[in-house]
Amino acid sequence: AQSVTQLDSHVSVSEGTPVLLRCNYSSSYSPSLFWYVQHPNKGLQLLLKYTSAATLVKGINGFEAEFKKSETSFHLTKPSAHMSDAAEYFCVVRPRGSTLGRLYFGRGTQLTVWP
C-alpha cells in the first residue's frame, strides 16, 4: 500500500531563517518522490523530484530535498525563507510500476513566513 504523511500541517518561520517541511512515505515499490507547491488560488507547480538518481535533489527557488530510504523520508529544506515562499506544499509519491503516472498526495503543509 502507498501512503504519504506530511508530519506538520502548518509551519511558521521568520524571513531569513531555515525551512524544514517533513514527509514520510510508504510504498510497495521503489518510488519516485516529488514536492509540489501551491500558491494561493493557483495551480500546483513542481519544486523538485527524486527518481532514483542522486539522493540529494535540488529544486527551484533554493529548495532541496534528501531521499533517505532507511528512514522512508523525503524532507524539504531551504536555508533561508523568503516571503514569497508562503504557500501550501505537497509531498507526493509515485510507486514504480504504478498505473500510468498514478500519484499519491500528502495532506499538505501550509508554510507561513513572518517578516
Binding site: 500546483l44 507547480q45 523530484k49 500519484l103 498526495f105
Partner: protein
C-alpha cells in the same frame, strides 16, 4: 503559451444543475488526469485517460463523466450537482515516455454549488 489550461476558472451554480469543465494541454502529452481538491486542500485523483482511453477511474459517483475527444483535451461533465461537489478541480497531464514522472497541472476550476 499556456501548458495546461482549464475553463472556466470559477463556476457558481445551483444544486441539481449540470455543468462541464474543460481542460486542454498543448504539451503533446498522452496522459491526462482530473483531480479533486477538497476544502482541506487534500488532492485525490478522479480519472486518468491515456490516448483518449480511460485507465484510472476512482470511486467517483457516476454523475461525473469524463470525455476525451482527442488526446489534448479532457473534459469533465457533472450531472445533478450536489453541495458536496463544491471543490477545486485540477486537470493535469504527463508524457508516457521520457520524463513520464512529472505531472503538469492546470490552474484549477473552483466549483461552488449553492
Amino acid at each position: 503559451d499556456t501548458a495546461v489550461s482549464q475553463t472556466p476558472k470559477y463556476l457558481v451554480t445551483q444544486m441539481g444543475n449540470d455543468k462541464s469543465i474543460k481542460c486542454e494541454q498543448n504539451l503533446g502529452h498522452d496522459t491526462m488526469y482530473w483531480y479533486k481538491q477538497d476544502s482541506k486542500k487534500f488532492l485525490k485523483i478522479m480519472f486518468s485517460y491515456n490516448n483518449k482511453e480511460l485507465i484510472i477511474n476512482e470511486t467517483v459517483p457516476n454523475r461525473f463523466s469524463p470525455k476525451s475527444p482527442d488526446k489534448a483535451h479532457l473534459n469533465l461533465h457533472i450531472n445533478s450537482l450536489e453541495l458536496g461537489d463544491s471543490a477545486v478541480y485540477f486537470c493535469a497531464s504527463t508524457p508516457t515516455s521520457g520524463n513520464a514522472d512529472t505531472q503538469y497541472f492546470g490552474p484549477g476550476t473552483r466549483l461552488t454549488v449553492l
